[in-house]
């Protein structure tokens, strides 16, 4: 330990810049891993917390397929009381307009106060001040008036809402004015989604949400909570067709599963920065060993064993990694705040609407940070540490061994063979199916491509050694000759850090190609399928859960405009599908109108429109590509869907391309939907205008015609397309952010490698100065080396990136999300990134270049 303190710790303290750079690189790596873990957990945490708190003491819940539970059905299920207490619930999203005119999303909970008391605790502020709880009657008085609402104290305080003031609830397209009759203390259900909760009487909620006669679910609190398994089975057996019983946590698990692929891909990406950071550890320990060979020799001469030396340098890596983890873990929590903002747009647009918050750090995070960073750092340091252990006393003390590490033509055959092996492995892995919806083999194939690319680095450097001299001398004269000679002599040392940079750049190129291709595909798809002139939707509602509906009156006013040629309704509900209960989207539209105006892009069969036309009115559906791929469904197959009247089989008439959701869509003709699920108000309208009409003008006219009492969002074709691409770009913002961090760390790696080489060549540099090399010439030489490394890395990175993008597009993406993407090369981006990388690596060479001249000057004296 004393030797470690004297020999390693003091050296690290004496060279603070290098030590700090390494710790900073590792800190970034650990921070990114922790940040993504926390952001992933946080994005569903809001949803799960809301679920837990709103569920209260609920043990089981009864839900209907797609459309909910009819009041009449509940009346017939008096037997439920044998098992426990029963409470009917309406739980739907709405918006609340505050006195200052701003609108805020909130969750409306419609309950029967008398029956709901045992389920959830309602602590009203005015009663709490008197030290007592409100009686059920007191609550009933508050809520029975259709013009009353109870909000949370937290929400009211934040928005300056006082008791008895009037607020506007925006539900679907309707605006409902209500008086705030009570404020819930910041406890129990009031803590849900940051206090964004409103409580109404269930009957009032049914009225406001156009759900008269229907409930969203029925909560059950068991008399004997321990017998839940048994009771669940018993209830399930007695339920009428179209209803099922589940535990509240089931909804959380469905959401978790829905997000699994998205989170899995982010997690995989987050490890790149850490892996690249480990190259910094390799470099730092290598620098330690190289710059202190004579000291190591002295230690060996004085009797230090090889094992002790190995331990010393591995200890250095562990110390650096430990510091990186200790700083990186809290830094990760801070970074997660930004990451969650970047991911929330996607999560909210595609998966769940929830107020995402970063969970606090746990011991698990500490274990993850240290458990990942330290062992990997030890692995990275093993090579240079072994080199230190091999140093002989005589060679190191003489300093003569440097001269013997000379210019041998590199034998790159083995590396080429390894590379071919990796690429072969990748090709095989790419043909294997996903595991539980996760692209594990696809990821394996991507890793094999990365391994293949990294193995090509020595081959590339050997090629530079063979053919690079002539062109470099012609272009850069003596500096070119020296740079070529230096790089050629250091192929072994360079291979590791160049490989790190190649891997990062390949990932960047692959991701850029994937995103560029995806964007082009989506853009084309939007252009083909978004044919209507106007798209009308109601306020409120998220991508999962009940959607806000459009009232008959609003639809009538839209259709009445003289410029409107046709209006189609579109409705959608969530439906569990298959043995795992995957939450798919069941859509209802008028096939005839969709065929005439919709412009769906069919994947199968060849004559998709004819197949869809034949399916109209029949028990047949068209399904999205994501649904077909994830559920293994082909045209002419028959799929079983839960309906209001029990399970029913539908024939798959056609498969169409869709990029709006990776959950999978099943679309049926409206009459078919109504036959199986009952009539439902639409969640959206597509409006086709007369040829001469101007969409923007009609939009304004429609908004005026709807008036303040009907609150609808109307997008023109152009604004909706722009919105689709905005969500798209927001989705991939985090991808670029993670990649940028990885590249930054990789460029730091190149800088430290060059520094290693400079340290190793300090005697030669001073000799160069003595024989007449100017400072500028030495700087040019080092920067040329940096630029050459950057250029070669980018060239190989681009080539490997293209291969990697093929795996991303055709394997990982298809297995994760079920989307077909047309491959396109974003040439502009790739050219720009190449120039940037060349510049960045040249800049990264500045510090080693400066150190080189400093050494040269110092040694020359």
């Amino acid at each position: 330990m004393t030797l470690f303190r004297q020999f390693i710790v003091r050296a690290l303290v004496r060279d603070p810049r290098r030590s700090l750079a390494t710790v900073a690189g590792l800190t970034l790596g650990v921070a990114v891993v922790i940040a993504i873990r926390l952001a992933n957990a946080g994005s569903i945490r809001g949803f799960e917390t809301a679920l837990d708190v709103v569920a209260g003491q609920t043990s089981l819940e009864i839900v209907g397929a797609g459309v909910g539970v009819e009041d009449a059905q509940l009346a017939e299920m008096g037997w439920l009381r044998e098992y426990g207490l029963v409470s009917p619930v309406i739980a739907r999203p709405a918006r609340l307009r505050t006195p200052d005119g701003s609108e805020h999303p909130l969750q409306v909970l419609g309950v029967d106060v008398l029956r709901d008391r045992p389920f959830r605790e309602y602590q009203l502020v005015e009663f709490a001040r008197g030290g007592r709880e409100p009686s059920a009657q007191a609550l009933l008085v508050l809520l029975l008036d259709a013009r009353s609402v109870v909000l949370t104290e937290r929400f009211a305080t934040r928005h300056g809402i006082r008791l008895d003031s009037t607020v506007a609830l925006v539900i679907g397209d309707r605006v409902h004015n209500a008086a705030v009759r009570g404020l819930l203390l910041d406890e129990g259900p009031a803590r849900v989604v940051d206090g964004q909760l409103a409580v109404l009487d269930v009957a009032v909620a049914q009225l406001l949400f156009d759900r008269i006669g229907w409930l969203d679910r029925v909560d059950i609190q068991l008399h004997d909570a321990a017998a839940i398994d048994e009771v669940e089975g018993a209830i399930s057996a007695r339920l009428p067709d179209g209803l099922r019983v589940q535990r509240p946590a089931q909804r959380g698990r469905q959401v978790e599963k829905m997000l699994a692929a998205f989170h899995f891909n982010l997690t995989a990406l987050s490890y790149i920065a850490l892996v690249v950071g480990l190259f910094l550890v390799y470099n730092t320990v290598a620098v330690s060993v190289i710059s202190r060979r004579s000291e190591i020799g002295t230690l060996r001469a004085l009797g230090t064993t090889r094992r002790t030396l190995l331990r010393l340098f591995l200890g250095e890596a562990a110390l650096l990694a430990g510091l990186g983890a200790v700083v990186g873990i809290p830094a990760g929590w801070l970074l997660a705040q930004g990451a969650i903002r970047l991911t929330s747009t996607t999560v909210n647009a595609l998966y769940i609407t929830s107020a995402a918050t970063v969970p606090p750090l746990s011991w698990g995070d500490l274990l993850l940070g240290c458990g990942v960073a330290i062992p990997l750092a030890l692995g990275a340091a093993a090579l240079p540490a072994l080199e230190a252990a091999r140093v002989t006393p005589i060679a190191a003390v003489r300093g003569a061994d440097r001269l013997s590490s000379t210019h041998h033509p590199q034998r790159s055959g083995r590396a080429a063979l390894a590379s071919a092996g990796f690429f072969g492995l990748a090709a095989w892995l790419a043909t294997l199916d996903s595991v539980g919806g996760l692209p594990l083999y696809g990821l394996g194939a991507a890793l094999a491509v990365i391994g293949g690319g990294a193995s090509l680095v020595p081959v590339l450097l050997a090629w530079l050694q063979r053919v690079g001299r002539g062109p470099l001398v012609r272009a850069f004269k003596v500096e070119g000759m020296l740079a070529h000679a230096n790089l050629s002599a250091a192929v072994g040392r360079l291979a590791v850090s160049v490989a790190a940079l190649v891997v990062s750049l390949a990932m960047l190129a692959a991701i850029a190609i994937m995103i560029g291709s995806f964007r082009d595909t989506v853009s084309y798809w939007v252009g083909q399928t978004l044919r209507a002139d106007l798209f009308v939707s109601a306020a409120g509602g998220g991508p999962v859960g009940p959607s806000a509906t459009i009232s008959e009156e609003a639809e009538r006013r839209v259709a009445a405009h003289p410029a409107v040629a046709a209006v189609d309704q579109f409705g959608q509900v969530d439906l569990p599908y298959g043995p795992d209960g995957d939450l798919i989207i069941l859509g209802a539209g008028t096939f005839e109108v969709l065929l005439e105006h919709g412009g769906l892009l069919f994947k199968e069969p060849d004559d998709g429109p004819a197949a869809m036309a034949a399916a109209a009115g029949a028990d047949a559906v068209v399904v999205s590509e994501a649904f077909a791929l994830k559920q293994g469904v082909a045209v002419a197959d028959s799929i079983e869907l839960e309906t209001a009247h029990g399970a029913h089989r539908f024939r798959v008439a056609a498969i169409y391309y869709d990029y709006s959701s990776d959950r999978g869509l099943v679309v049926m003709d409206r009459p078919t939907f109504e036959r199986h699920y009952g009539a439902q108000r639409p969640t959206g309208l597509t409006v086709y205008l007369e040829p001469a009409a101007d969409a923007a003008t009609v939009r304004e006219a429609l908004l005026a015609a709807l008036g303040p009492e009907h609150r609808l969002f109307i997008n023109t074709n152009a604004t909706l397309r722009a919105e689709v691409l905005r969500i798209f770009d927001a989705t991939f913002a985090i991808t670029y952010a993670l990649e940028a961090i990885a590249i930054f760390v990789a460029i730091m790696g190149v800088a430290t490698t060059l520094l290693t080489l400079v340290l190793e060549r300090r005697d030669e540099l001073s000799m160069l100065r003595l024989v007449g090399a100017g400072r500028a010439q030495i700087q040019r030489m080092v920067m040329l080396e940096a630029t050459l490394l950057g250029g070669l890395s980018q060239a190989l990175g681009l080539a490997v990136g293209v291969v990697l993008s093929v795996i991303l597009i055709y394997v990982i993406n298809v297995q994760s999300f079920g989307w077909t993407i047309q491959f396109t090369l974003p040439v502009g981006f790739l050219v720009r990134s190449t120039v940037l990388v060349a510049l960045a690596t040249a800049v990264a060479g500045l510090y080693p270049a400066r150190v080189a001249t400093t050494f040269a000057d110092a040694e020359a004296r």
Partner: protein, 253 residues
């Protein structure tokens, strides 16, 4: 030739060099004056730590004196900035060191041509001139070998060829034979003397070896940073032996 005064290759006046300040101040060179004309060969001898290497560094423009002046080929070094000193070393001074200091990544031919290439010569010009110089030191057949592939004697002969490839007026050699066996040491010295005679380069060398010092035109004996004696070899050889012997630690004050 009336009115033409031959310019000395090196003139150093009252050179002083001190390191550190206050109590930790060490005077490495104290008031040394010397002059070398073209074709001179001067050996500096003395015990370790007497200031030989520091004196050579000051004369070669590798370090700046605390006091005194150095003029190389008529150019006062005090008036030169870093670029000027670099250019002077590149054009008018050659260096040979104990540990050869060749670049292991370049062939012997490239190492020899390096000063010319750094001065802007083309690769072809450098290679031609390197071949001539390699031939002079008997290494024409080794031009394409790397330093690790040749013997110590050959390495030092390459270093000598590199030191004269640009036709310097002054050649500074710090223990040029210190890392060689006797035969190779003598061979390197033969080459140095031949060059000294043939091309008229002034040679200033530091050595511990009395037989090497004995072949110089003049011997400067140093102790504690001062030149304590200046002699022709025939007269001073015994004293050189004595002064070069014991280490400074063992010397009595």
């Amino acid at each position: 030739m009336a009115g033409y005064e031959l310019m000395p290759a090196l003139r150093a006046d009252n050179l002083c060099k001190a390191y550190g300040r206050g109590e930790s101040r060490v005077d490495a060179v104290r008031g040394v004056t010397l002059e070398l004309s073209a074709g001179d060969c001067v050996a500096v001898v003395g015990p370790s730590g007497c200031g030989k290497s520091t004196l050579l560094h000051l004369c070669g423009g590798m370090d700046r004196p605390t006091a005194g002046t150095v003029v190389v080929d008529g150019v006062p070094l005090s008036g030169l900035d870093d670029n000027g000193l670099t250019k002077l070393r590149r054009d008018r001074i050659g260096f040979v060191f104990q540990f050869f200091n060749l670049l292991p990544t370049l062939t012997l031919g490239e190492n020899i041509a390096l000063p010319l290439l750094l001065a802007g010569a083309t690769a072809g010009e450098g290679a031609d001139r390197a071949r001539v110089c390699a031939d002079r030191v008997g290494l024409a057949h080794r031009l394409h070998h790397y330093p690790a592939q040749v013997s110590g004697g050959e390495l030092q002969r390459s270093a000598v060829a590199r030191a004269v490839v640009h036709r310097p007026v002054l050649l500074i050699a710090d223990e040029p034979t210190g890392n060689l066996d006797t035969d190779n040491g003598q061979r390197v010295l033969d080459i140095l003397r031949t060059l000294n005679d043939d091309i008229g380069v002034a040679v200033l060398l530091a050595t511990h070896d009395q037989s090497i010092a004995g072949r110089a035109d003049r011997i400067l004996r140093m102790r504690d940073g001062r030149v304590v004696d200046s002699d022709h070899p025939a007269a001073g050889i015994d004293e050189v032996e004595n002064t070069a012997g014991p280490s400074p630690d063992l010397e009595t004050p």
